[in-house]
């Protein structure tokens, strides 16, 4: 049996917020910096998405199905493609048609919902699944959480949603002496197969490729294959997971990254020890060798490989808690705009901007950050969130009034939300004020119940770490 090489790329762009002043609260509810979002998306599309997709398509055709990759494309960036660069969606669609590209499932808004609210998490996963099916005509069967965040509890939720394969980081503090180059299984969900990122080999491409101070610069396909073979001498599978923007954006075209990628499949296939697989093929081919215990959440970010890049200081925890404390209220309103904003405010990037770990990973943080300081990021975010809270409260009082009046059934949300539905069902058409009052706390309770201990645990843990 040949050894496996699994390539997976993350495609995501956040909806960056505009400068939102205190004076705007309650007056202007447009939160996004459309100009920046458009400019950045168009730039990355030209430099990375379009040329790299073209290259991948060419390679897949050239090697006649022997070259394969996997993508996770967030709902946030899909929306932006639709708005600013529809040709990118078309180009991904062409890749999908080859059948050699696997599309992975994730949270629609690239959010941290897995750490906060199982109900919200499930909602976003289903929403994303529907979006991928809509755009690319495939149903994702492999799961990849935002920034490869994983814990035993998250694994269990993912398994319960019907996934049998999940990607995460091969974090050293979790693996210990174990090798990332095998398939593992989840501690709470034994039938969930875990593919672990080989950090060192992935980062050679994603971070070090163009670094001229790196002793191994310049990196060539042959040299790289040598490393891969050495790393997996006695192992089965090497997982190379990285941001898709690596190609052409983080590593510029001038660095030779496209040539490297053009040449790599040839070297690998000629050598014959490895073959390319998609994540779902990988777990069909390889059996898990052991159980992986991950009590605390891990991710692929920073030296720590944990979630402190998003929930590592008091600013982040405060914003995060305030945001997710709204889910209960939101479950009671039926308003597409509010739902969309709620989703966009959950994008993990907003919390990343508030990170104060400037010293060890400052360079990476700075590169992705539209704010000068985490404090500005926090103030701006909280101003936006304050306006959003006002709108949610307004919507709630309006929906109270609607219940009191003879109710006209509004079109059900396409991506139905269980809690919202229960409210509707439990409120009979002739519902008077009494029925409404009875229904509301009941609905609220179901939501509350659906938020299990894990989320608060995770929050407590991260605060502890922050200290």
């Amino acid at each position: 049996m040949k050894k496996s090489l699994c390539l997976y790329f993350q495609v995501h762009q956040p909806n960056r917020l505009r400068l939102y002043r205190f004076f705007d609260i309650g007056k202007d509810s447009h939160y996004y910096d459309d100009f920046a979002n458009r400019t950045i998306l168009r730039r990355v599309a030209q430099k990375c998405y379009l040329p790299m997709n073209e290259l991948l398509l060419e390679l897949i055709k050239k090697y006649d199905g022997k070259f394969k990759v996997a993508f996770s494309i967030s709902g946030s960036v899909l929306e932006q493609f639709e708005r600013y660069a529809p040709e990118v969606t078309d180009s991904f669609r062409r890749l999908a048609k080859t059948g050699n590209v696997e599309f992975l499932s994730e949270t629609y808004y690239h959010s941290l919902a897995s750490l906060a609210s199982p109900a919200e998490f499930k909602h976003q996963v289903l929403k994303h699944k529907a979006a991928i099916e809509h755009y690319f005509g495939v149903v994702p069967t492999t799961f990849r959480n935002t920034e490869l965040i994983y814990s035993d509890a998250i694994g269990e939720m993912v398994y319960d949603l019907g996934f049998r394969t999940m990607l995460t980081e091969g974090a050293k503090h979790v693996l210990g002496w174990k090798s990332p180059n095998y398939v593992y299984s989840g501690a709470l969900a034994p039938k969930l197969n875990l593919l672990l990122k080989n950090s060192s080999l992935s980062d050679d491409i994603a971070f070090r490729f163009s670094d001229r101070n790196w002793s191994d610069w310049p990196l060539t396909g042959d040299k790289y294959l040598g490393w891969v073979k050495k790393a997996a001498e006695n192992d089965e599978i090497v997982n190379l997971f990285m941001d898709y923007e690596t190609f052409g954006e983080h590593q510029s075209a001038q660095s030779g990254i496209f040539d490297f990628m053009r040449y790599l499949p040839e070297v690998v296939l000629k050598d014959g020890e490895f073959e390319f697989v998609t994540p779902s093929e990988a777990t069909r081919k390889h059996k898990p060798v052991a159980v992986l215990d991950v009590p605390d959440a891990i991710s692929w970010a920073d030296e720590e490989r944990d979630v402190t890049a998003w929930l590592g200081n008091e600013l982040q925890n405060e914003a995060f808690n305030k945001l997710y404390s709204l889910s209960e209220k939101l479950a009671l309103v039926n308003n597409e705009d509010l739902w969309a904003d709620y989703g966009h405010l959950q994008e993990s990037d907003h919390f990343y901007y508030m990170c104060t770990k400037f010293f060890s990973d400052g360079a990476v943080h700075k590169y992705f950050n539209p704010y000068d300081t985490p404090y500005e990021a926090f103030i701006n975010y909280m101003n936006v969130l304050s306006d959003f809270i006002l709108r949610v409260d307004d919507a709630n009082s309006v929906s109270d009034a609607n219940f009191a009046a003879p109710k006209k059934e509004t079109a059900a949300r396409k991506t139905g939300r269980p809690a919202a539905k229960t409210v509707k069902k439990s409120a009979p058409k002739s519902a008077g004020k009494v029925a409404e009052k009875a229904a509301k706390p009941a609905a609220a309770k179901t939501v509350k119940k659906a938020v299990p201990k894990t989320s608060s645990k995770a929050a407590v843990k991260t605060t502890k770490k922050a200290k």
């Binding site: 002043r21 205190f22 004076f23 705007d24 609260i25 309650g26 007056k27 200081n313 008091e314 600013l315 925890n317 405060e318 914003a319 808690n321 305030k322 300081t373 404090y375 926090f378 103030i379 909280m382 101003n383 969130l385 304050s386 306006d387 809270i389 006002l390």
Partner: protein, 425 residues
């Protein structure tokens, strides 16, 4: 009169106070010649003649450089530390230093010096040069002036120099002291020395409040009968009240000022947390910038109230008016405030105010609620009262407005005129 700034280009309250004061003095029949380091030409000169120190070359006295330096050379700051030397060497060194100074003087001061008039890193150097130029200007106008009036430590040296050169009496005006800028053990000793020097050289010291007067007496060792309190006033002419549409229905409690230790922002945050526990429909705003801002943001986040506690950053001109117009309660929890003009502005806009007893304006305001800055319970109590009991809010708003409108610079200036008269023999 020596000042550092004058509207419209101001960084703090000093320029505003000087503007009001000069207008008041004009109304009292006192003619003012106002010297400032860097005038832009768009200052309102209806009540005052402004001399821009940046325009004045010092070459008129070049013939008597030695005499001039003999009188004012002490203003040279940044003198080098000299290690152990025997008396002989010392004399030669002093001689050399003196010759070098004369040379420097000819080179540097024989021409115009462009002051920034800001509060930058070379502030000390500007202060020294301003003293030189200021003294020269005083000498040029020796026959026109009766009294020299210097505002705050930045201009004290100019005042002293002018007094030495012209022999006219000097009044120094203390708007703030080193002790208002930092806690006791961390004051800038260079500034303290300048302040003390100025107060000692002065014939009279005017303090903006009894609070400041006490500091001058106790911390600078100035004789009490030399120190007079003249409370500041506030000039609201040319100001229209804005009608701003509110975005939030909640009541708004505002802190506006530099976010520094002296202004007590953390007590405001603590009080906010307490009030929010009782009545949720309130928002707190901290407007301003300063070295404590980031600490305050973290503090607010830790208390978990940041959806109700907002930061606006530094506000300018109209934005300040807008902020007042949006406010229901204004809070000034200063740990040490020589006077504090902002609550007067708030009250003029009909915003009831809570001020700390450790602020100078507490001595003149009857209709502001006064609490000790450290008494967070009392502060939150006062805020809560103004938010929830319409009667007291209405009273504080109406009477407060009338009260601050009665604080006229004309009255304050007449007291200043009396001080002038007491020193002109």
């Amino acid at each position: 009169m020596f000042g550092w700034e004058f509207p419209p280009h101001i960084a703090g309250g000093l320029g505003t106070a000087c503007y009001g004061m000069t207008k008041g003095l004009a109304a009292n029949g006192v003619e003012v010649l106002f010297v400032m380091p860097s005038a832009s030409g768009d200052e309102d000169q209806s009540a005052v003649r402004i001399i821009n120190a940046s325009d004045v070359p010092v070459d008129t006295v070049s013939t008597t450089v030695d005499e001039f330096l003999g009188k004012v050379q002490f203003v040279h700051i940044g003198s080098n530390m000299v290690p152990y030397v025997d008396p002989q060497d010392f004399t030669t060194m002093v001689e050399e230093e003196r010759r070098r100074q004369v040379k420097d003087f000819r080179i540097q001061y024989g021409q115009k010096y462009k002051f920034s008039g800001k509060y930058g890193s070379n502030l000390m150097e500007e202060v020294a040069r301003y003293a030189m130029v200021g003294a020269t200007i005083a000498l040029q106008h020796r026959d026109e002036i009766d009294v020299i009036h210097a505002h705050d430590w930045l201009t004290y040296l100019a005042g002293i120099g002018a007094k030495q050169l012209t022999g006219k009496p000097l009044v120094v005006h203390v708007h703030a002291t080193s002790f208002d800028r930092a806690s006791d053990d961390r004051i800038d000793t260079r500034v303290y020395d300048l302040e003390k020097k100025g107060m000692e050289a002065a014939d009279r010291v005017i303090a903006v409040s009894d609070l400041t007067r006490n500091i001058v007496i106790n911390k600078y060792g100035i004789s009490p009968d030399k120190v007079v309190t003249v409370h500041n006033a506030v000039d609201f002419s040319g100001r229209e009240n804005l009608n701003v549409e509110r975005g939030v229905r909640d009541k708004v409690v505002t802190f506006l000022g530099r976010v520094t230790y002296q202004k007590g922002p953390e007590y405001f945050i603590e009080a906010a947390a307490k009030v929010l526990k009782r009545c949720p429909h309130v928002r707190f705003v901290m407007a301003g910038n300063g070295d404590m801002l980031n600490r305050c943001i973290r503090h607010v986040a830790r208390l978990g109230i940041s959806d109700r506690f907002h930061f606006t950053g530094f506000l300018r001109g109209q934005e300040v008016q807008k902020m007042f117009a949006l406010s229901d309660v204004y809070v000034m929890p200063s740990i040490s405030e020589p006077f504090g003009i902002s609550p007067l502005e708030a009250m003029q806009t009909y915003v009831p105010s809570v001020i700390s007893k450790q602020s100078g304006c507490a001595e003149v305001l009857k209709y502001a609620l006064k609490v000790d800055f450290w008494d967070v319970d009392a502060m939150s109590d006062a805020i809560y009262g103004l938010l929830n009991y319409p009667a007291i809010a209405a009273l504080a708003s109406r009477c407060g407005h009338d009260e601050v409108n009665a604080l006229k610079w004309t009255n304050a200036a007449s007291k200043i005129r009396k001080v002038y008269e007491s020193v002109i023999k």
